[in-house]
């Protein structure tokens, strides 16, 4: 294709008229490519487009949402992704299975212990590798701690996006204690890189256990404080109850998972629906709510924190002795095959589909991130709401852009 571009003077009066748009403008400079895009960018009387993000603090990362508004009401919206796309799946194909662990770490950066489990569990399934029981218990312990830190932050973010500053500080206290605890265990605060194919990187140490003991003593009390702070806060309740309601059928059709799905009353939790690790041996319930609104999602997160504390309690009582790593070769040639694994992350079903061609590199490693699908549902929840409430809905669905954009 030949591009005929003439150099134009800045004095040219036509220059400003014909200044081309960029693909980052609210209206892309392309003719609409799909039916949906044509529909979205067709403006009716009194409608206007505004760009929300990609650097808006309430979008929880670098998400851009093109909102079509009529006055204060959101008519439609078009989320634009890809600002954080790193091509993790492609990078994983070009490194070996061990590299995939640290490459998958930053996907769900608030709860990295879950995303880094994906290549590990796929490889273990393909290798048909038994993991020592102590390693499985340590994994569950780390997962549940990470879930609590993520949920504690969720509650804080939700209140922050509604204008309340205090809960985020409490959320960060909780999170910081757990993160320090996991740092004592893994050496990292955020991207742990702790799980290994065949086990975990290191055994429990004294520093971790003493921090855990300190924290466990008043963990439940803290959650109750959190509840007292928000559950009966009139403004909080008024702004979240009845907001962003999803019914069961819509939730199932939009492939939701995690707390967003369970807030609609479907008790779908991968820990029970498709048991993995040592979860079948542990006792816990799956909290559900019927309302499906933001307030139900908030309450559900608090219930799940309590269940996680209950699980941690059991894990600590039942922790077996033994090795934390299976005997695995250093250069791991994974037998050819296909495997699909799935775990319950704080945001829903985190799953991966791995294919191996018998070499030491994954042939294909597909990561399925729950935030991606939950964010898609935001597009169905927002229309009809006020612009100020879009953030409350977004925060209650809690997407993590690292995982959405991969």
């Amino acid at each position: 294709m030949t591009t005929e571009q003439t150099v134009r003077s800045l004095d040219d009066p036509d220059l400003f008229v014909e200044t081309p748009g960029t693909i980052y403008d609210a209206i892309p400079p392309l003719p609409p490519r799909t039916e949906r895009e044509a529909e979205f960018y067709t403006m009716r009387d009194g409608e206007m487009l505004i760009n929300l993000g990609p650097q808006h603090p309430s979008t929880h990362g670098v998400l851009r949402v093109v909102l079509k508004i009529d006055g204060e009401r959101v008519v439609d919206l078009d989320p634009v992704l890809g600002y954080l796309h790193r091509g993790v799946e492609k990078i994983c194909e070009n490194g070996d299975w061990h590299h995939a662990i640290s490459n998958c770490d930053p996907l769900e950066y608030i709860a990295a212990m879950f995303s880094e489990a994906m290549p590990v569990m796929v490889a273990e399934k393909l290798l048909d590798l038994g993991v020592p029981r102590r390693a499985e218990y340590i994994r569950v312990l780390a997962w549940e701690l990470n879930r609590i830190s993520s949920h504690a932050l969720f509650v804080g973010w939700l209140a922050l996006d509604l204008g309340g500053l205090t809960p985020i500080l409490y959320g960060f206290i909780e999170r910081d204690e757990i993160v320090e605890m996991l740092a004592a265990l893994t050496g990292q605060r955020l991207l742990f890189n702790y799980l290994r194919i065949g086990g975990v990187n290191g055994d429990l140490n004294h520093d971790f256990l003493s921090r855990l003991g300190d924290w466990m003593g008043n963990a439940l009390k803290r959650i109750e404080d959190q509840q007292k702070l928000l559950n009966s806060n009139e403004i909080f309740v008024a702004r979240t109850r009845g907001l962003g309601v999803i019914d069961r059928d819509l939730a199932r059709r939009t492939l939701l998972s995690g707390p967003v799905l369970r807030a609609t009353g479907i008790p779908y939790d991968v820990r029970r629906a498709h048991p993995y690790s040592v979860y079948p041996e542990l006792e816990f319930t799956i909290p559900t709510r019927e309302e499906g609104d933001s307030y139900a999602r908030y309450l559900l997160h608090l219930d799940e924190i309590k269940q996680s504390i209950h699980i941690i309690d059991q894990v600590l009582h039942r922790m077996p002795d033994g090795p934390v790593m299976a005997k695995v070769p250093r250069l791991m040639r994974v037998p050819p095959g296909r495997a699909y694994v799935s775990i319950e992350s704080p945001r829903g079903q985190y799953s991966a589909y791995g294919m191996s061609d018998g070499s030491d590199q994954p042939f294909r490693l597909r990561i399925h991130d729950p935030s991606f699908f939950n964010l898609q549902a935001v597009g169905l929840l927002m229309p009809g709401n006020l612009v100020a409430d879009t953030m409350a809905i977004m925060a209650s669905v809690d997407p993590i852009m690292g995982g959405v954009d991969k």
């Binding site: 591009t3 400079p29 003719p31 529909e39 960018y41 799935s342 589909y353 399925h368 699908f373």
Partner: protein
Amino acid sequence: MRISPTDVAQVMTLLHDDPEFRFLILSDLCGVDTGSVMQVVYHLWSDATPDWLRVIVDGLPREDPRAPSVTFLWNGAEWAEREAYDMFGIIFEGNRDLRRIYMPPDYQSFPLRKDFLLADDAARSPGQGVRHMEQTFQPAEYRRTPVLRQGLGSDAGHMAPGIQTAELASGEDPAR
């Protein structure tokens, strides 16, 4: 379970609606490039069994991979199909919004295909030459095209061919 692309709608509807199967939850949808053919892989879950059902739509030609969309059963599959289109170029017929989702809209190649090699690979296997396949260009007419700023009436000519909204079909000018 391997099926051909022509059977997708029928098989999926049966699995979804039949009271014995009840595969109501689509866990995952992804594209795969095996190097010779393209595949679309679905993982379904039913409350009747804890196992996943893997449905592989096999044998899509690499030159023109086309598969029917399953958005009529799960409208949440829309983004998953957009992702598979973005990464592999698989065209899902029936998806209302098959745009690129991660890469910029003017991007031309499909990154997760096996013949898309990263720049590093040239260094990894010397003698193969530079195989950096990334090629983006901005067609000149795209940059100059005015968009739907003035309302539909004057802009109908700029719509992509084959796309007709309800307003356009009826000839009504919504701005009026």
